[in-house]
């Protein structure tokens, strides 16, 4: 109690220092005056009386020190003093301080921005949905570790068979053409289960959401929910929007409600505009068999734990349910188990790419910040050596080591915290800019990140850590100073500090590692893009048609395809034309179907599967996939030939052990087919995938209700074919729309888009880093050179040419830089060979990056060196 009161009094006194000093001064004056009078009365002379009074009082200054120590909190007062002093010091070096603060701010700002993204994914993965981080992904998982998604029937079964999860919801992403024929616009929506909105706990902005019974039976209830943005832009936010018709994929749907403003769907970071009941899938997607075919795994499932249930329990129930499904439907579900995963840790899809990209980015950015700290420490050391005299005076006057350290520390902390606050501002600006920035590409992407208290605290913490890191070296350096030496040596000849050079080397080495990582990343992305898909996408136009609604039978489907192909092939610019049910490198993938093949006995349980695509004759010509053996399919009109199949090399290798395939029979659910040819392997699902077995069936044998038209142009300008193709289809059937028209390259771009986001960031990051390293070198060299102005003046006066001086300065600094580069190079090489490229060295990157880095480093040395070498020797010699 007593000590608390004493503490509070002291705290208060610290604030009222001036008044207290005045009081003490007055008391002392009074005391001495009274003592002097006393002495006078005793008969001493006035001068002597005062002298004796002073003697009796004792050492005034020592007493004042005791008094001050007793009065206030020395620690706080010293700190305030240090901060005032730090402020003054920083104001005396505005240029240097600006460089430090700005580079720190960039480092901290970028890190904070990335953290806010990661934080969004972890804690607020679904904007507009509260408690979304509690959702779990319910992911079927194949034996080989793939995550194929769930089929609709599987979902219906899991809904009741995993009681630990409440409200499992299903959704899939679909492209929509909205509007009348001829003026449609393309947008993305989600097909959702009936409990979607209620399970997410959303409240409609107006109207209502989809009711569970509206997603029960296929083809019922043509209703749709629109996004808030869509409502605002298309209906100007009018309440009458509810009840209006919207034409989606050639169907009229009735708007029943508007989603809340922030809600953007359940596949981050994609932004969806429309939500329709999953049961509309066949109507909206050209008769897709999504709802009845168990091998079409188009849906993603999420669910939340029931109160009291654990993830382990849900996992166990899920595994049991999947095992049961595998027993009941072996052809679709054999070997498929399941995994319950936290929402942020999505094993597939855009979220997965985002989180791993961000994690790498955060690591790289922290390295970058470390490099900035290196810069700053270097600058501080350079400055610190010119302050040796100042520090020596302080030590000589009785300042303790800790006072010196705390002085240096407070200066650097002030700089660091200024940098952190600016960095926080950059992060706020950056996340806002990212929110409003339109993303390029065919997918609408929206990041709803914001900087909150947590991320700001992170920025401050980073700043403080940086401050500590870059004060350590100068503080130790100055605190070890011997005042005698410090006072004796002139400020014009700073000792060649090895620490400074080592730091510069370390920093260059760090820059090297990050630059190489960035270059490798970019290269790997570009090479994925340049990987030969083993078919030729250039010059191919894709377009889809859909006969559902015309209720065609097999014969009319075949007939339609044959007539369509005939007309298309007669176009002058068409070199080859074909129709297929699936397109490689599609986001949804190509289905793999079970089969048995003559001459193979499967030993283990389950069924052989192969990618299967149904194509017309001419397909291999359009795709430029060579047939290694045998022939193309029989013509569409041929009624004599038996059912045919063409397999690929991998199929022959894996299922026939390389034996002759021609003539063997394949049995599938659709019938029996004779193998008539072997096609070369090509890419089906993704660039860089391992070779997959594939079977092609003929459109003649298995006509389909819808098809993807493939047109190879003669002229190389495939987009020019669009209108001609439309005209051909209109001639055949005036009411039939040609939809999803795109070049094959555009089709691939869509697939690559999500991989491109981190690559783009590295493109921005690389130069930024190079710039920071250059600033660092420039600052250190120019500072060191400025301190040696007199020495250089002497040399110039003695006849050295400015060229020689420049060369010498560059050589001195380049030595360390080269060392740093070399070590960083080796480090990057080890990491790359061990972890990234697995033994392959990317020579252009490992030669090019160091060349660029050394070039920039030389330039950064040269600029300050040339400046000082141009100085007039007389001016240089007079320089303090």
């Amino acid at each position: 109690m007593k000590s608390l009161r004493r503490f509070l009094n002291r705290l208060f006194n610290s604030a009222t220092r001036r008044a207290q000093e005045e009081r003490l001064r007055e008391e002392i004056a009074e005391h001495i005056a009274l003592q002097t009078e006393e002495n006078l009365r005793a008969g001493v002379s006035p001068v002597e009386a005062r002298r004796q009074a002073m003697l009796k009082f004792g050492g005034v200054e020592a007493m004042k020190q005791d008094y001050r120590a007793e009065r206030g909190l020395l620690f706080i007062e010293n700190l305030l003093g240090d901060l005032r002093n730090a402020g003054r010091t920083i104001c005396r070096m505005p240029g240097l301080a600006a460089v430090i603060i700005v580079s720190l701010a960039i480092g901290i700002g970028v890190n904070t921005t990335i953290l806010s993204w990661i934080q969004m994914i972890l804690f607020q993965p679904l904007p507009g949905v509260s408690g979304a981080s509690n959702f779990l992904l319910v992911e079927p998982r194949t034996e080989t570790g793939g995550y194929p998604g769930a089929s609709w029937l599987e979902y219906r079964a899991l809904q009741t068979q995993v009681p630990a999860l409440r409200d499992v919801v299903a959704f899939q992403m679909v492209p929509f053409n909205v509007g009348e024929t001829g003026q449609t616009e393309r947008t993305f929506g989600q097909l959702v289960s009936g409990n979607y909105f209620s399970a997410l706990g959303l409240k409609p902005a107006i109207g209502r959401f989809i009711r569970p019974e509206e997603a029960e039976r296929p083809g019922t209830e043509p209703v749709i929910v629109i996004s808030y943005d869509y409502w605002q832009t298309r209906f100007r936010g009018a309440p009458e929007a509810v009840g209006q018709k919207v034409r989606v994929n050639e169907r009229d749907l009735i708007v029943i409600g508007v989603a809340p403003r922030e809600f953007q769907g359940t596949m981050l970071p994609l932004k969806f505009e429309l939500w329709a009941p999953a049961t509309l899938a066949p109507a909206l997607l050209g008769g897709t068999r999504d709802l009845e075919d168990r091998s079409i795994r188009a849906f993603s499932l999420i669910g939340m734990l029931r109160p009291g249930a654990t993830r382990e329990k849900a996992q166990a129930e899920f595994s049991t349910a999947m095992a049961q499904l595998a027993r009941d439907y072996p052809e679709a579900s054999a070997g498929i188990g399941g995994e319950i995963v936290p929402f942020w840790n999505a094993p597939r899809g855009p979220q997965r790419m985002l989180i791993s990209g961000l994690a790498i980015l955060q690591g790289v950015m922290l390295l970058l910040l470390l490099a900035v700290c290196g810069n700053t420490a270097n600058l501080m050391l350079a400055r610190g050596s010119t302050r040796q005299r100042e520090m020596a005076v302080r030590v000589a006057l009785g300042a303790g080591r800790w006072r010196i350290v705390s002085l240096v520390l407070s200066e650097n902390m002030l700089l660091a915290l200024l940098g952190a606050s600016l960095g926080g501002a950059i992060a706020v600006w950056g996340t806002t800019a990212l929110r409003v920035a339109p993303m390029i590409g065919s997918f609408p992407i929206l990041f709803q990140t914001r900087v909150d208290e947590l991320t700001l605290a992170f920025a401050i913490l980073l700043g403080a850590a940086c401050g500590l890191i870059f004060s350590a070296a100068p503080a130790v350096h100055l605190a070890r100073l011997d005042p005698q030496d410090g006072l004796r040596s002139s400020s014009n000849t700073p000792p060649r500090s090895r620490a400074r050079k080592v730091l510069m080397g370390v920093e260059v080495g760090l820059a090297m590692v990050v630059l190489i990582a960035a270059a490798l990343f970019l290269q790997s992305f570009r090479s994925a893009r340049q990987t030969d898909p083993r078919f030729r996408p250039e010059g191919v136009l894709l377009a889809a048609y859909d006969l559902s609604g015309r209720n065609p039978d097999e014969a009319s489907e075949r007939e339609f395809a044959a007539r369509l192909l005939e007309r298309l092939r007669s176009l002058p610019d068409v070199e080859a034309a074909a129709i297929a049910t699936n397109v490689p490198l599609d986001l949804h993938g190509i289905p793999a179907r079970p089969f048995t093949v003559q001459g193979r006995v499967r030993t283990e349980a389950g069924q052989d599967r192969a990618i299967s695509n149904t194509v017309t004759p001419g397909y291999f010509k359009v795709m430029a996939i060579p047939l290694l053996e045998g022939n193309d399919f029989a013509e569409m009109g041929d009624r004599a030939a038996p059912a045919q199949a063409i397999v690929n090399e991998e199929f022959v290798r894996r299922y026939l052990n390389g034996a002759d395939a021609i003539g063997r029979r394949i049995q599938t659910r659709a019938g029996s087919f004779a193998i008539i040819g072997v096609a070369r392997n090509s890419v089906y699902d993704a660039f860089g995938e391992p070779a997959q077995p594939a079977v092609y069936f003929s459109y003649r044998d298995l006509p389909a209700i819808q098809g993807e038209i493939h047109l190879r142009t003669r002229s190389g300008n495939e987009t020019a074919l669009t209108s001609e193709a439309r005209a051909v289809l209109r001639d055949l059937d005036p009411m039939l729309p040609l939809y999803d028209v795109r070049t094959f390259s555009q089709h691939i771009e869509r697939n690559l888009y999500l991989r491109r986001i981190p690559a783009r960031m590295f493109v921005v990051l690389g130069p930024l880093l190079l710039g920071l390293a250059a600033i660092g070198i420039y600052a250190v060299v120019s500072y060191a050179v400025a301190r040696r102005t007199r020495e250089i003046g002497v040399r110039l006066a003695l006849g050295a040419t400015s060229g020689r001086v420049v060369l010498q300065i560059i050589r001195e600094n380049l030595g360390v830089i080269t060392w740093g580069t070399a070590i960083g190079w080796v480090l990057a090489l080890v990491i790359s060979v061990r972890a990234i490229t697995k033994g392959v060295v990317n020579l252009p990157v490992f030669i090019g990056v160091p060349a660029i880095l050394l070039g920039v480093a030389t330039l950064a040395c040269w600029i300050p060196a040339r400046k000082v070498s141009r100085i007039d020797p007389m001016v240089a010699l007079r320089h303090e």
């Binding site: 009161r5 004493r6 009796k56 004792g58 005791d66």
Partner: protein
């Protein structure tokens, strides 16, 4: 001499409290004079050391101070004992007497008593 001062520093606070208890409100010089008179030459030098002690006591709440007029009508700071200070004095007086008694008994003990 040095040891003497150390003892003095420890007991100075007690002396100040006792002085204020006996004489009522006093200014710094008055307290110094009184202690000097009673203790002889102990506080003849370094009267200044009194002031940090006064400050400490004031911050602990044992004494309070205010400006007033000294005997020759000059502005001076007068210290007086607070209720808490009186209590503290009582406790410390007891402590001191107890300590002194124990020490005294130790000095009285002779070898043959053991």
């Amino acid at each position: 001499m040095k040891q003497k001062t150390d003892v003095l520093q420890g007991t100075l606070a007690l002396m100040v409290l006792k002085t204020l208890d006996v004489l009522g409100p006093l200014h710094g010089y008055g307290i110094a004079r009184r202690i000097e008179q009673i203790s002889g030459d102990l506080l003849a030098v370094n009267q200044g050391t009194l002031y940090p002690v006064l400050l400490k006591l004031e911050q602990e709440g044992a004494i309070a101070s205010e400006w007033g007029a000294s005997e020759n009508n000059r502005r001076a700071r007068f210290y007086r004992l607070t209720r808490e200070g009186r209590k503290q004095l009582q406790v410390e007086t007891q402590d001191w007497e107890q300590t002194a008694a124990i020490i005294g008994r130790f000095f009285d003990v002779k070898t043959e008593d053991l």
